[in-house]
Point group: C2
Chain length 333, copies 2
Amino acid sequence: MLKTPYLLFLGDAHDQLAAKVAKGICDWRPEYAIGQLRLPGCDADVGLPDLTLEEARNAGAKTMVIGVANRGGVISETWKDVMVEALESGFDLASGLHNRLQDNPHLSDAAARHGQELIDVRVPQHQYPIATGEKRTGKRCLTVGTDCSVGKMYTSLALEKEMKAREMNVDFRATGQSGILITGEGVPVDAVIADFMAGSVEWLTPDNDPDHWDLIEGQGSLFHVSFSGVTMALIHGGQPDALVVCHEPTRTHMRGIPNFGLPTLEEVRDLSLKVARVVNPDCKVIGISVNTSALNENEAKNYLANVEEQIGLPTVDPYRQGAARLVDALEEL
Amino acid sequence: MLKTPYLLFLGDAHDQLAAKVAKGICDWRPEYAIGQLRLPGCDADVGLPDLTLEEARNAGAKTMVIGVANRGGVISETWKDVMVEALESGFDLASGLHNRLQDNPHLSDAAARHGQELIDVRVPQHQYPIATGEKRTGKRCLTVGTDCSVGKMYTSLALEKEMKAREMNVDFRATGQSGILITGEGVPVDAVIADFMAGSVEWLTPDNDPDHWDLIEGQGSLFHVSFSGVTMALIHGGQPDALVVCHEPTRTHMRGIPNFGLPTLEEVRDLSLKVARVVNPDCKVIGISVNTSALNENEAKNYLANVEEQIGLPTVDPYRQGAARLVDALEEL
């Protein structure tokens, strides 16, 4: 869907966190990212060479990816000029901003004039079918979570990295805007029409080799009332053979809905399994992935050990420790 | 949303079943339906006077409702002429067909020319918010099912009828095209963008009087892999105080997906409650509604008695027996 390699546009990002998507590309697809473009006032740096548009084009970059989230998702005036210039220089533009590139007349005019593409990854690119639930060949692993934004994408990408290192037959399947920008393709499930959600996940993870694994990026949580329907569709459309439960241990309430406490890991394990077994009776939870970034080394070690004893499944922080033990568990299935 | 009363367009319906929507309007909103319009070859009859467009206008009809589903959901040539004529005569047109009225240039031209509206009830009419899960005042009852098309809308409408007869404070809340055409308003949840599904249900069932009941029309089934995400959003967006489990006893597999058997009533009860209690810890299943239309009187009686003994909850066919016992259970809550 997106032409690689990328020039990463950081704009005037006010801090490193605002450049999360660019950071994700550098972490997981470093071979796609050949430089960064920063405007005056930018306080983010993903450690790539600062390139002008011309330098980036000469180095082979084909798409300028908006690797930054700004307040309100709007395209500011200062951004617009560089974006038009990029289109004039022969770049496609790709963005996950709320405000669509295609709805900006300056950008759509420039894109049409120069034969370049504007790719809004929040916008579904296909007419997806209604899910059939038919058993597909190949194997699938889905990340589920106690909450939104607890590390489901990160966990799936860490699994992919370890499985590729072991030369396993594997694909990461992006289901959100960051995942799509990082890997260049996928389905923005939360932007799909309700009737076709599960079908879009089936479409994303079709029949494959018997030894092939799709690593499906999870979304939301069965316990997050705003987005649980999306999670449900990912489970029923994904017909996973394996689930990894993801968690962030310092979260005091569900993201964005302060009246809701987090479910326990056991609750997420049990409900996810019950629901997954409707479509795949052999589905298993194979491990727990904990985002321990808010804990120090010792706290993290203790927390992971405690959870492992409590749940009886391999429990890792894939950032601190890699995903090897989770992949071992997948290989044992 | 729809202007009443209606003229019901039956077109060239090849049998009574094809006129299901018109039949639903006659059953549940007889005061909205002042006549039927049938074309040559029509084999359906909903028992209303056959009126010409002119007669219907003179009798006060404001909207011609396409009360018939034809093969493929297309608007045939024979229909088109009458539809254009209806617009010319001052009718709005309302339809739940797959092919949108608004996408037909003959119809959109005629509507614009004569200042009439084309209402495609499959198309969401609002920008719905993201669900917050905040506790709303008033009470809500949602129908859930072992499968699609087992009588959830019918059950909710039968509850409404009985509650209105008891002068209770109640509203039926339509969530599908038939329900919207029958009652003139609602949200077509399965056509809403995934992220906003639960929010659209919150929007549909806002704060209300403490003694007020919203009767929310259920969709799909938590066990139907094609549409379970929609069901989930209805439960979490609806934050029901009461659930009624709906079932059709002769179904041998889940509708449209022959490899899937039906869940038991206990499975639907337990999973629905577990999920509903995330958003409303006091939620209860108050009864079972069985569509016994495929059984004879005696079979139906036995079946209902057996289920009632098995589950220990009031079990009725609201078509055969009315919904009084279910409403008794709601009043006891």
